[in-house]
Amino acid sequence: MGFLARSYASHKNYILKSAEGSVMCAQSVTELTNRKYVVTVDHLRKQYGLTVAVDDVSFSIAEGEIFGIIGPNGAGKTTTVECISGLRTPDSGSATVFGLSPKNDREEIRKCVGVQLQESSLPPRLKVSEAIELFASFYRNSVDSKTLLKSLGIYEKRNSQFKQLSGGQKQKLSIALALIGSPKMAILDELTTGLDPDARREVWELIERVRGNGVTIVLVTHYMDEAERLCDHVALINHGRVVALGTPAALAANEGDGVCMQFLPSGPFDDRILTSLPGVTAVEYRGNLIVVTGSGDLTTRVLYALLQVGIKVSEIQVKSSSLEDAFVRLTNTGDTKTGEVSK
């Protein structure tokens, strides 16, 4: 399964490699890097009555990475992570978490996986300190609650009841509860929904610190900027299937509108030098400027091709598409044919 393979090269490297062919090939090339997978999801399927929530989902999550599960509402993201955390049993397919089966070893998994659920609230009159101490008592190794609350910036709220907290503080407490048991992995569903921009940034920084301590993070989100900022890899799920898998940058480059490059050439040259390049889709003139659109590692190839014919370029501007472009393109086509990224 080529698409299960992962590249751990830097994003830049990754794009260079993927320029040689499809994303899949690039992933196969870099599969050699030995990373330990802590979660493997294989052809997962879950149906509620006649509604297929998860049709066919497969991916792997490496130790210590931030893995994003992205997709539109109702795509099957939450059901997928619920199957991983053992809250639901899949109809078919399997999931493995730290070598354990969420179905049969629920208790063991609960000891080492912290979960922050979407739409799960605390009793309104429960105080922050009571909630955190209660959860700490559930785990054999709990982190220091004072340190944790301080790092989330809600320590001064420890004597407040849940109902007195703002949306952001509630969310931070929920994250704290997922982390109090010093988990090896944390599953965070809709991490920053309802947070203001400052609070989001704080939460992102916290997540990066937690990952820095070696905790694997599974992030369910429909915010593409969040996935782009935090995730090492993302699986884009639509209609219960994985429609794209890879690094956010690779997805953006390969599945978005591609790269748009604009420059001023030192002299005239034949268009065909550029249009014949792999990955170039259009070459346009805007006054003296030339605009080249395409995908992959456009810039390097264009510059190299022009250098070969003695053309120098200036005023270069490169705009690459974002993950959001890729998201919109992939989820609007209704194309759910495979879990592979194809060009």
Binding site: E130, S137, Y139, D144, N213
Partner: protein
């Protein structure tokens, strides 16, 4: 979070459960619906009834007063209030807001949250019984002749029947509103058949028969016997046991964790 300071606690299997009981107990004190109705109301009734002179007169043809008759009724009132409100409402709330589900992602089994609620409400019921018993004996000078084994059996069965009714409501009510509605629907008939409005002894014999076949009527009957020196007859004990089995069966069958 390996480089953060880790607290290594020796895992005593009971400590998390006690922590849960403590927390849910604090919540019950902060939202004291169960306490107000389960203990407050019966105690207020005890004080009122104890202060009305007519209640203290020996009833014609008997050796006991109307106040004596009301003591087991008030004890059953404690159980009605806890069974209908104190126990099911917090359980349904915890499920409705996703707290049960949140707990089920931790090593703590969500069934322990249910056990914690049962524990808290048992404590509450015991407090109610003690206040009613001690109050009537010490303050109002009532003489109760306990038939200890019969009394213990009656109180245990009565508690089991009303607690299983509470769990049944918790099992089938989809929301706090629905649980409240069900509680209200049960409340007035149960109070009536327990004899809170008029003691069952003065009801027509057909209604007395119906009453003795309800869990609350049977409970009052059994407590009455065991608090006037004799072991209760078998029928009320069997009625309570049967209701407990029936309610528990449905509760277990239909209980939803989310």
């Amino acid at each position: 979070m390996s480089n953060q300071e880790s607290k290594r606690t020796e895992q005593k299997p009971f400590r998390p459960f006690l922590e849960l009981v403590k927390v849910e107990g604090k919540l019950a004190l902060r939202e004291p619906t169960g306490i107000a109705f389960g203990v407050g109301l019966p105690v207020i009734l005890l004080i009122i009834f104890g202060s009305v002179p007519a209640f203290g007169k020996t009833l014609p043809g008997t050796t006991f007063t109307l106040f004596d008759v009301y003591i087991p009724i008030l004890m059953v009132t404690v159980l009605i209030m806890i069974g209908l409100l104190g126990l099911p409402i917090p359980v349904v709330r915890d499920r409705e807001i996703g707290w049960l589900r949140r707990i089920s992602t931790t090593p703590m089994a969500p069934s322990r949250l249910l056990a914690a609620q049962v524990t808290i409400n048992l404590i509450l019921a015991a407090v109610g019984f003690v206040i009613l018993g001690a109050g009537s004996i010490l303050i109002f000078g009532v003489k109760i002749m306990f038939e200890i084994p019969g009394f213990v059996l009656s109180i245990v069965l009565a508690t089991a029947a009303m607690f299983s009714l509470g769990l049944l409501i918790a099992a089938i009510a989809p929301s706090q509103g629905a649980a409240g509605g069900m509680a209200t629907a049960f409340l007035y008939p149960l109070l009536f058949f327990a004899g809170v409005y008029v003691p069952t002894q003065v009801l027509p014999s057909s209604l007395q028969k119906i009453s003795s076949l309800t869990p609350v009527g049977a409970a009052v009957k059994a407590l009455n016997s065991s608090m006037s020196g004799s072991f209760p007859s078998l029928v009320p004990l069997l009625v309570m046991a049967a209701y407990t089995a029936f309610f528990s069966f449905i509760a277990v069958r239909y209980f939803r964790w989310e």
